[in-house]
């Protein structure tokens, strides 16, 4: 075998220019395959670590996945709100430990505004049961003093350079970046900046529910009521107790009762409501996305097949002019099997080079794109050594390249058997 190893390397090195393009094609296809796999796993992991410690999420009657997406992940919008009375009835259930209301619908320069209670900072958990931490400042004070206080997520602070004491203006609606109507008359004061958590909270502006009520007090149907203007000072004289919420996070005293409480909410007579178990609904979401993920992965796999096919086509095409070389090797004592091994080794060397280059490429690309993905989509890419599932894919690609290298290999074998040492051109 040793002379064959030696020749493989020299022969590949000799044709480096002609094979470079095909190796690049393999590298790109492998980078795409691994990139898709990495993205999908990291997205899953990111989603899964976003919510912990919450037993139920409650909202207006609707799809479970939709409720989870808009309440926890800030994707999409609620079609209906739920009433404050319903919320209080849920909170009054003996099984319920805590309720954290969420009120969505406003934004600040493209980031979502979340109206909530100070209980949010206490009860919201992510990852392995981690609590939110303050990088600076504190939670907002209870109404009425803290009505115009806000706590901002790490990404919001980083993007705009906000610090404690800065004033910011909220906008009506969640238009990404473009604000249609500002609540410019009622600015909020940043009282706290949260440490990075890798969850949508990083990209949120948190205010009290009373604050949300206050900025909408002179509004109706998405616009300021003409002629009516109520100043921040006057606002405190009005009733700014929250009337509605978009959703609520619910914690139970004992997890065992979760299905009973869920059933109770789902069959609530006063108002049509939905209660979901975040973990189960996340699973439902994966099942939904699974088809799309599989399709994407399948397309990537196909691209790899195309890349390998191109490589083998180049190898086979080169065989015509290399028949002479094979005959020389035969005369020197190489058997047809060694010829087979030579061609397979060459093809596999090229494929392996492509695979390694693809891995380097995807690592470099994810290192380069990670900050942007994290700040724009809150997606945290794992950079570094390939994961188990990526190794499996890489192994599969290599196995495919071994199979594919049989094509030039067997062809060369046939040539060397048919030609012997003499070639009939």
């Amino acid at each position: 075998m040793s002379p064959i190893w030696h020749l493989t390397w020299r022969s590949v090195a000799n044709r480096r220019l002609s094979v470079l393009l095909t190796v690049i094609a393999v590298a790109l296809s492998v980078a795409m395959l691994i990139g898709v796999e990495r993205l999908r796993n990291d997205a899953r992991e990111g989603f899964a670590r976003t919510i912990a410690g919450t037993d139920l999420v409650v909202g207006a009657r609707g799809g479970a996945v939709q409720l989870l997406l808009y309440s926890v992940f800030h994707m999409g919008n609620a079609t209906n709100n739920m009433s404050w009375e319903s919320l209080q009835k849920i909170a009054a259930l003996p099984q319920v430990d805590w309720v954290v209301p969420l009120s969505l619908g406003d934004s600040h320069r493209g980031f979502r505004v979340v109206g909530t209670s100070s209980g949010f900072f206490e009860h919201y958990r992510f990852g392995e049961d981690e609590s939110l931490r303050f990088a600076a400042g504190r939670a907002f004070a209870p109404a009425p003093e803290g009505i115009f206080d806000t706590v901002i997520g790490a990404e919001v602070a980083a993007r705009f350079g906000y610090r404690e004491g800065d004033h910011i203006v909220l906008s009506h609606g969640s238009g990404a970046g473009v604000s249609f109507a500002d609540h410019a008359d009622k600015p909020f004061t940043v009282v706290g900046v949260l440490a990075r958590s890798g969850t949508p909270v990083d990209r949120s502006v948190l205010v009290s529910l009373e604050g949300i009520e206050a900025i909408h007090i002179d509004w109706q149907g998405g616009a300021q009521i003409p002629g009516l203007h109520i100043s921040p000072e006057q606002v405190r004289k009005f009733d700014i107790r929250p009337r509605t919420a978009t959703a609520a996070l619910v914690g139970l005293k004992n997890r065992v009762t979760v299905f009973r409480v869920q059933r109770w909410v789902n069959t609530f007579a006063d108002e049509p409501l939905t209660a979901i178990l975040p973990g189960a609904t996340l699973q439902e979401l994966w099942n939904l996305l699974g088809v799309a993920e599989q399709a994407l992965l399948a397309v990537s796999a196909l691209v790899v097949v195309v890349g390998l096919a191109g490589l083998m086509a180049v190898m086979v095409a080169s065989l015509g002019e290399r028949r002479r070389e094979l005959a020389i090797l035969r005369a020197l004592g190489a058997g047809p099997r060694q010829i087979l091994a030579l061609l397979m080794l060459e093809s596999m060397t090229l494929a392996l080079t492509g695979i390694c280059a693809g891995l380097v490429l995807v690592t470099a690309a994810s290192a380069a794109l990670a900050p942007w993905l994290a700040s724009t989509y809150g997606l945290r890419l794992g950079i570094g050594w390939p994961s188990m599932s990526e190794w499996v894919l890489l192994g599969a690609v290599f196995a495919a390249s071994v199979l594919a290298s049989l094509v030039p290999g067997v062809r060369a074998y046939r040539y060397s058997v048919a030609d012997g040492m003499t070639i009939r051109m």
């Binding site: 020299r10 070389e325 035969r330 058997g335």
Partner: protein, 239 residues
């Protein structure tokens, strides 16, 4: 006394798919150190005969012995090894692997054959020394040895091929029209070198050509047609 270099008995060979036999040779022998000139028109089966002697092809019937070893008793892998150990081949053209240097081309048989390495060792030589020695005898300057084979002239390539055939002293050198790509002066110079080196390494030489002018320097001149009973098929005579 060393065994006969080549011994053919009742040999018949037909190419796959061919209508008639290509070769039918009752007997042919090449003595140790003997230098035989084998001639015959193009397409008469000379190269086919050499491939049979090399064990690359196997006869339909009959026996091929090289250095006393009946090739038919060997497995195909063992035949390949046997060829590497005992026979050096030189072809008409394009003898070299273009992506190796002249030196690496010459050393290649030592990579395939442990026996050739061993013989060098027993003579107290390293492969690198032997390359230099052969190169000097074959009129190849040391500077040439580092060059890729593809950059050498045809004459240089043939001398590199000769050195490669000779390295590690195989008992038999088989040359298949090695001079037909060279002009007349160089033909005779090349032949001088080859004959001299075969004598120096005690190798028998089976030299194939269709050019009778080179024949007088050999121990024996043979016409393939004289020993081959098979009716020559194909385009005999034209080159």
């Amino acid at each position: 006394m060393s065994p006969t270099a080549v011994d053919l008995q009742a040999l018949r060979f037909r190419w796959r798919g061919a209508a008639s036999d290509c070769l039918a040779i009752d007997a042919f022998a090449l003595a140790p150190r003997e230098r035989v000139f084998l001639q015959g028109p193009s397409g008469s089966g000379k190269s086919t005969l050499l491939a049979l002697i090399g064990g690359v092809l196997t006869p339909s019937t009959g026996q091929v012995q090289v250095a006393g070893q009946a090739l038919s008793t060997l497995s195909s892998a063992a035949r390949d090894r046997f060829r590497a150990d005992h026979i050096g081949f030189i072809f008409q053209l394009f003898n070299l692997l273009p992506y190796l240097s002249a030196r690496d081309n010459i050393m290649l048989p030592c990579r395939f054959s442990a026996a050739r390495r061993q013989r060098l060792q027993q003579a107290g030589q390293t492969a690198a020394d032997e390359v230099l020695r052969l190169a000097e005898h074959l009129d190849l300057s040391p500077a040439l040895l580092g060059r890729p084979a593809s950059e050498l002239s045809v004459g240089q390539q043939q001398r590199v091929a000769a050195a490669r055939a000779l390295i590690g002293r195989p008992g038999l050198i088989v040359a298949d029209e090695p001079t037909s790509a060279l002009d007349a002066d160089r033909q005779s110079a090349f032949l001088d070198l080859l004959l001299g080196e075969c004598a120096a390494s005690d190798a028998a030489l089976l030299f194939v050509s269709h050019d009778p002018r080179l024949a007088q320097r050999f121990d024996r001149v043979l016409n393939l047609a004289d020993i081959n009973r098979a009716a020559p098929s194909g385009s005999g005579g034209m080159e």
